[in-house]
């Protein structure tokens, strides 16, 4: 059975990617199971989706714990433990990362022994409006890595998944996905199937007794007010608003008033600063600023360049 996991952020099309790859396997005569997995859905938050494909009926369900292939659409997720990108990754697992950095850099950074393949899809993205195509691009690369999906089947899979979006969207996605498919030629078939966990020799689960604890401890109660500040919602951001303080006219109120999350503070001199721990990257400030002093910078780029010089 092939077990494949896609990691990305809400809005990057990971569900679509899993469905395209699912359609493609199905088109090649495989039995398929695909599903997205998210909590309280929100744009920019880490989500993942998965695909199982096998020649026989699939009886496994739920999250893939031992993946054969992990596809990461957004490399800012890799170091984020909560996103679970590396969960269950071993020497058999192929890691495909959409990144501008080299495979070697990632191999050393993550200290993993399995194959790492990079897909510099973002390099081609000059226009931010092109980013939604990243899902299909990742699916296209994945289709080539498993080596059992034909080019035509992939194109059909995209047509089927995106039928309601019209010919233009279908063609653009096909173009990107097929380009990624071709780019992976030298790695075709790198990803191989793995079997089920044997019942003879398996790691025994260490079950434990839950002790009784008083309700003061064991009730799901939050004993502190105003604690949402502890949730670093800045991790959901795909675009970062960066203030050009030269251009800012110290109006003191527009960006901070329109910010729906109250994360823009204004200093005594009227100059604003953004709390990047909690800015979700909605870009309303960018749209509202009268002298256009706030720029939207892709989060990935901002982190690599250290543009704003601030956390995270």
């Amino acid at each position: 059975m092939y077990r494949i996991r896609f990691h990305g952020r809400g809005g990057q099309g990971m569900k679509t990617a899993s469905r395209i790859l699912g359609n493609a396997f199905f088109g090649e005569g495989f039995e398929v199971q695909d599903a997205p997995r998210y909590g309280a859905e929100r744009r920019g938050a880490p989500i993942f989706a998965y695909v199982r494909a096998a020649r026989e009926a699939i009886d496994e369900r739920g999250i893939i714990t031992r993946p054969d292939l992990v596809i990461v659409a957004d490399d800012t997720l890799v170091p984020e433990p909560a996103s679970g990108v590396l969960a269950g990754v071993d020497e058999h697992t192929v890691l495909l990362i959409n990144t501008m950095e080299s495979a070697n850099v990632w191999r050393h950074r993550l200290n993993i022994s399995g194959p790492v393949i990079t897909l510099p899809a973002s390099a081609d993205v000059e226009d931010r409006a092109e980013l939604p195509y990243i899902g299909a691009t990742c699916a296209g690369a994945g289709a080539r890595l498993v080596g059992v999906i034909g080019r035509e089947t992939l194109a059909d899979a995209i047509r089927l998944e995106l039928a309601e979006h019209g010919a233009g969207v279908i063609e653009r996605n096909q173009e990107n996905a097929l380009e990624a498919y071709d780019r992976m030629e030298e790695h075709a078939g790198t990803v191989t199937e793995s079997g089920a966990t044997s019942a003879v020799d398996y790691e025994r689960p260490e079950w434990a007794e839950l002790p009784f604890e008083a309700a003061r401890i064991s009730a799901p109660t939050i004993y502190a007010a105003a604690n949402s500040v502890e949730v670093r919602t800045g991790l959901w951001r795909t675009l970062r608003p960066v203030i050009d303080h030269e251009r800012c006219n110290r109006c003191w109120w527009v960006c901070s008033t329109f910010c729906p999350d109250g994360v823009i503070a204004v200093g005594d001199d009227g100059s604003p600063s953004i709390d990047y721990d909690h800015c979700k990257g909605c870009m309303i400030c960018v749209a509202m600023c009268p002298p256009h002093a706030i720029e939207a910078v892709p989060e990935q780029e901002a982190q690599h360049a250290g543009t704003a010089g601030e956390a995270p």
């Binding site: 199905f26 699939i58 044997s198 260490e206 434990a208 939050i222 105003a226």
Partner: protein, 415 residues
């Protein structure tokens, strides 16, 4: 017939469409909303006749469903979790009206704490309402069970509403290959609802809101519902045979997988049973004599079939994805009641609680449950109920508690 990848939710919508549903009272709730969205889309663009109306709550939705069914039209609705609980008063009421319709429940754990993920406590809460219950393990089964459920509920020997249950996420948002029957095949099996003399008309007013004082008439009416539900066992078997003839897919009231020669048996409901099936195969590879029983019907409870299939077995492990506070697993309790005093009943019936609030059950845990069962039968002693919860999970919980503690101190200092 088309074979396509469908989510459990889409399969439910297809079941409603192929059953020729006339009326869909609706209210959204995760993880069910995709069902009513799909139906709304089809009705809106003319692919499906019928009428969909959004109501102000699940309570109103079930009232509307029961009232519409009492006029003799075919009614479909869907809900989940808190929504099912909010509708609870009307579930009992419309079942008493003897108004048949199909309600999909997409299983999701209950508050508190609130969650979006799957377990069976919601559907168990509706256990005694008078609704019949069909539990599904695959997306195909969701579509097929919806077709079956109309015939079952509408049968003159039954006349009760039916809940078709599917697990949130594990089926609702998961695509699998599903054979979608042609419209003509679907309507041939589903037929039309013949309400006979139960047919409310504005021109011939009736009242469904009957009050009775004194326990004797009340007992009569309530026990009649029970007898109708029990009749559903026979009616179901007939329909399942007819369905198998028409579609080539077999849905016995209790699915038995490699049980015939098995000494040990796992028993569970719902979509995790396919995982159990895989575990049975691996355990068989490792030399085990083990099988799986999956009741599809929970109400009526197929007690006689379970007694027969479990007679002479060495040990049984019941895996409950629900928890009755102060008692334990509901299916375990029900199975014990069915087995008590039966000749050749298995001497050990162990209870495992797992999969609460979307917690997975790993292949290793299935193997370990089999092993615990074998040890228990060797000792001839039923072990205490076991929550599937690992040392790592306790550590993780302790870590969260520590974080909460530190954050609280931090926030208090800030003030």
């Amino acid at each position: 017939m088309t074979r396509a990848l469908l989510t459990g939710n889409a399969a439910a919508a297809w079941g409603a469409r192929l059953s020729g549903v006339d009326y869909v009272p609706a209210f959204p709730i995760t993880p069910q909303t995709e069902i009513i969205e799909t139906l709304a889309c089809w009705i809106d663009n003319g692919e499906m006749p019928g009428r969909l109306v959004t109501l102000d709550s699940e309570h109103s939705m079930i009232t509307a469903a029961g009232a519409a069914a009492a006029t003799g039209v075919r009614v479909f609705s869907a809900t989940s979790s808190q929504g099912l609980l909010y509708a609870m008063e009307m579930l009992y009421t419309v079942a008493g009206w003897r108004a048949p319709f199909v309600l999909i429940n997409v299983s999701r754990g209950l508050a508190s704490p609130i969650t979006l993920e799957s377990d069976h406590n919601d559907i168990m809460a509706a256990r005694d309402s008078g609704f019949l219950q069909i539990h599904c393990a695959t997306c195909q089964e969701v579509l097929d069970s919806t077709l079956l459920a109309y015939r079952l509920g509408e049968d003159a020997r039954v006349r009760l509403p039916v809940i078709v249950n599917l697990d949130g996420f594990y089926l609702s948002f998961t695509r699998e290959p599903v054979e979608i029957p042609e419209a003509e095949q679907g309507s041939r099996f589903a037929g039309t609802f013949d309400p006979e003399n139960m047919r409310f008309r504005a021109t011939t007013p009736e009242s469904q809101a009957v009050a009775v004082l004194g326990g004797s008439p009340y007992s009569y009416f309530r026990y009649e519902i029970h007898l109708a539900a029990e009749n559903a066992l026979t009616v179901y078997d007939e329909l399942a045979a007819e369905f198998a003839g028409a579609f080539g897919r077999d849905y016995p009231a209790v699915e038995a997988y490699r049980t015939e020669d098995a000494e040990y048996i796992l028993v569970m409901l719902g979509s995790f049973a396919t995982k159990a099936q895989g575990a049975v195969d691996r355990l068989r590879d490792a030399g085990w004599s083990i099988g799986l029983l999956r009741p599809r019907l929970l109400r009526p409870f197929p007690a006689a079939t379970l007694q027969r299939l479990l007679a002479g077995k060495k040990g049984v492990a019941v895996i409950d994805q629900n928890l009755s506070m102060g008692r334990g697993g509901v299916l375990h309790t029900e199975l014990l009641a069915a087995l008590y005093g039966q000749a050749h009943a298995p001497p050990v019936v162990a209870s495992f609680i797992g999969g609460l609030g979307g917690r997975d059950i790993s292949a290793e845990e299935f193997y370990e449950m089999a092993d615990a069962l074998r040890r228990a039968t060797d000792e001839g002693r039923t072990p205490p109920p076991r929550l599937l919860y690992t040392r790592d999970e306790i550590r993780e919980m302790r870590k969260l508690q520590a974080v909460a503690h530190v954050e609280r101190e931090e926030l208090n200092e800030r003030r």
